[in-house]
Structures are given as C-alpha cells and as structure tokens.
C-alpha cells in the first residue's frame, strides 16, 4: 500500500501531460481548419467540398458571418486563446487555468451545437470543414473537463 501512492501520482502526471498534448493538438487542428475557412472567405475562393454539395450553402449563408466577420475567424481566435492557456498552464501549473479553459470550451461547445443545428435543421446542408470544427469543439470540451477534474480533485 505504501508503494502504490507514488506510482499513482506518477501515472497522473504523465496522463496530464498527454492530456495537454492532446488538447494542444486538437486546438491546433481546429486553428488550421478555421484559418483555412477564413482565408477562403476573404479570398473569395470556392472550397472543395468532397462530402456533399453543402459547403457553399453553409459558407454563404447569413449565419456564416457575425457582424460582418466570418465566424471562422472567431473560431481561429478561440483556438489561439486555448493554445495560449495550455502553454501558460504547462509553464505555471496554476489551477485557475483549466477552469478558464473549461469555461471557454463549454461556450464553444454550445456554439458548435447551435451551428450543427443550423446546418441540419435550417440550411439542410453540411460543410465538412464546419463539422470538423464542431467535432473538435466537442473533443476539446471533453478533454478540458477531464483536465479540470484532475486539477481540482
């Protein structure tokens, strides 16, 4: 019993690092995805849509921009903030940071669910890049929750 505690702690720290790496990877992929869509928006490019013919409908709909700014740009900003929080946490180990991250990813998940709803119920069209971003939001939330529970237990 005496020896089990250090082992337990060791496995915990390794998992936390892995979790941080997973989170950073997800946020980075999300960042690339949103930057791609943002550039496509500002350069007036047609994005190749291999899944279905929905990309154009989704990306040109009135829901694709908010206050004249493409929501993909907001997404890119969100992912950058996530990455910054993760790096800050990696360096400082401050327990407040996973809480902030969890709060942010919860908001993102809410927005993501709303966007999936718009695609499914209002536009009747899907865009694979948007779905990828929404999937990442979901996974980020999962991992952030996991991290938060670990730091606060």
């Amino acid at each position: 019993m005496m020896i089990s505690k250090p082992f337990y702690r060791l496995s915990l720290t390794i998992n936390k690092l892995t979790l941080l790496i997973i989170l950073a990877f997800l946020a980075f992929v999300g960042f690339l995805d949103s930057v791609y869509l943002t550039i496509a928006h500002y350069k007036d490019l047609t994005v190749p849509c291999t899944l279905a013919h929905g990309c154009e409908i989704v990306l040109t709909s009135k829901y694709a921009t908010f206050l004249g700014v493409p929501i993909a740009l907001f997404g890119a900003g969100f992912y950058v903030v996530c990455l910054a929080l993760l790096l800050l946490y990696f360096q400082s180990n401050k327990n407040i940071l996973p809480t902030i991250l969890l709060g942010l990813t919860t908001i993102a998940l809410g927005i993501g669910i709303y966007l999936v709803y718009l695609q499914a119920a209002v536009l009747h069209a899907f865009c694979q890049y948007c779905l990828l971003s929404e999937l990442i939001d979901f996974l980020l939330f999962d991992c952030a929750w996991w991290l938060w529970r670990r730091t606060n237990s």
Partner: protein
C-alpha cells in the same frame, strides 16, 4: 599655477582611491572561509545561493519567452503557408490556357444562333457576377455583328460561395429554359442584376420575373424548386470547377480558352474575327 596644483592634487587622490580599491579586492580574494565568522559565512552562502537562484530564474524566463516565441512562430507560419497555398494564382500550372480544356458543345447545351456556324462562343457565367453583367451587352453586340457566323453557348457557373443569389438565378434561367424562354430570362436577369442581387427572397422575385416574361408561373415555380434543377446547375458548376476555371465570365472560342478576357467590344470582335480568318 593654482589650477595645476589642483590637478596634481586630484591625480594623487585618484591614485589613492585606486590603491585602496586594489588592496580591498586583494584582501577579499585572500579571505578564506576559515577567517570568517559564522555569521559572515552564512551571509556569503546565502548570497551565493541567491545568485544561483537569480541565474536559474533568468534562464527559466528566457526559456519561457523562447517557448512562446516558437509557438507564435508556428501559428504565424501555418497561416502564412495556408495563405500562399490557397492563392488561386499559385496553381501548379504556369500556363492555364494550355491546360483548360472545355467539354465539347453538345445539343443539350443551351445555345442560340446557327448550330453550324464556323464560330462557337461558349461563356461560363454567373448571373450575379458584376463583370458578367458588364460583358452581357458586349456579347449581345458580338452576336449581332457576327449573325449566322456565330453560335453562342451559355453554361452555368454560379459562384455560390461569394454570391448569395447565384444559385437561385441560375435555377430560374434553367426553369425558364424548360418553357423555351431561357434567353429572355438570361437577358432580364442581367439587365436587372442590381435589383435582385441582394434580395433576401430571390426565389419569390424569380417567380415574379417569370410572370413578367409571360411564363407559366405555376410550372416555373415547380421547376424552380425541383431538386433536379439544383442538381443540374450543380453538375454544370462542378464541370466548370473540374476544368479549373477560376472565375466568371470565362470564354471559349471554338473550344480554346481565352485566358485574358477581351477589353471591350472592339477587342472581342477582333479576337473572333482573327479566329474566323484563320479557318
């Protein structure tokens, strides 16, 4: 004289300071731990410790700044890379004219003019695109000028990512074609481009236009909302994307892609005349 004596005095004093400084540092250097009191030793150790700590924290800070710098650099590089890769002018082919091959004109294409004309002009256009609207009267003039020597083919290439009503306008023209009035709708859409381009209810507006042009509105509405219509437009769009067309309007004369659109009517006419003369 007085000033010289002051100067000498100063020099001596400076020399004295120097001597004092050297002797002081020498004694510090010679000082051994053994000659120090317990308190002094403690103080010295603390000092060393503090110095080490300072160096360590400095190193830590440097590492931290480096990590953030590298992180920011990776993100900036990713954005830059995407921006460069996604540039339409950076497509691998340096000579797009040679690579763009148009699918041959068939009887199922929407066309006007003499089907056996020596010249065939194909236009890939989007009813909502302003430059297509600008070329519309030029093409009209060209058709009049060449008469039976020219066949004009229209192909749908709605730029749906940038024009909200590109698709519905193309569908309207397609539906009008079913009642044999494609060209009337084509002309009407280009002539009233400003009116419907930012229309939020373009679908209803199109039905209104159909009524104006004397089409059967019920049939038109049915055709307009038929999924097969959208499918046909999308197929036309996909075929335009498949041959790497980058924008609208894109013109082909007898199957040859015009990489730079002619500058005005005279330019366009000369281009066609040259083709005609070469035959």
């Amino acid at each position: 004289m007085k000033s010289i004596s002051v100067l000498i005095n100063k020099i001596f004093r400076l020399f004295g300071y120097l001597l004092k400084f050297i002797s002081n540092s020498a004694t510090i250097g010679l000082m051994d731990d053994q000659h120090l009191t317990k308190d002094e030793k403690k103080k010295l150790r603390q000092q060393e410790w503090q110095q080490q700590l300072d160096a360590e924290s400095k190193k830590k800070l440097r590492n931290r700044i480096l990590t953030w710098g590298i992180g920011a650099l990776i993100l900036v590089f990713a954005v830059w890379f995407l921006a460069v890769v996604m540039n339409p002018s950076n497509t691998p082919s340096t000579n797009p004219t040679a690579t763009i091959k148009m699918p041959p004109v068939t009887s199922s294409d929407i066309q006007t003019g003499n089907p056996n004309a020596p010249l065939t002009l194909v236009e890939y256009a989007d009813f909502q695109c302003p430059s297509c609207g600008a070329y519309y009267p030029i093409v009209k003039q060209i058709q009049q000028a060449f008469g039976s020597k020219l066949r004009f083919v229209y192909r749908f290439f709605p730029l749906v990512t940038i024009h909200q009503n590109a698709l519905v306008s193309a569908e309207a023209a397609y539906a009008a074609n079913k009642q044999g009035k494609f060209w009337q709708m084509h002309d009407y859409l280009f002539e009233h481009q400003q009116d419907w381009s930012s229309d939020q209810n373009a679908r209803d507006t199109m039905v209104k236009y159909a009524g104006t042009l004397g089409l059967n509105q019920d049939t038109f509405q049915k055709d307009l909302n038929d999924p097969a219509t959208e499918k046909a437009i999308k197929a036309s769009m996909d075929s335009a994307l498949a041959i790497n067309l980058q924008g609208t309007p894109s013109f082909f004369i007898n199957g040859t892609f015009i990489s730079t659109n002619p500058n005005g009517y005279d330019d366009f006419k000369a281009l066609l005349q040259a083709k005609l003369n070469n035959q």
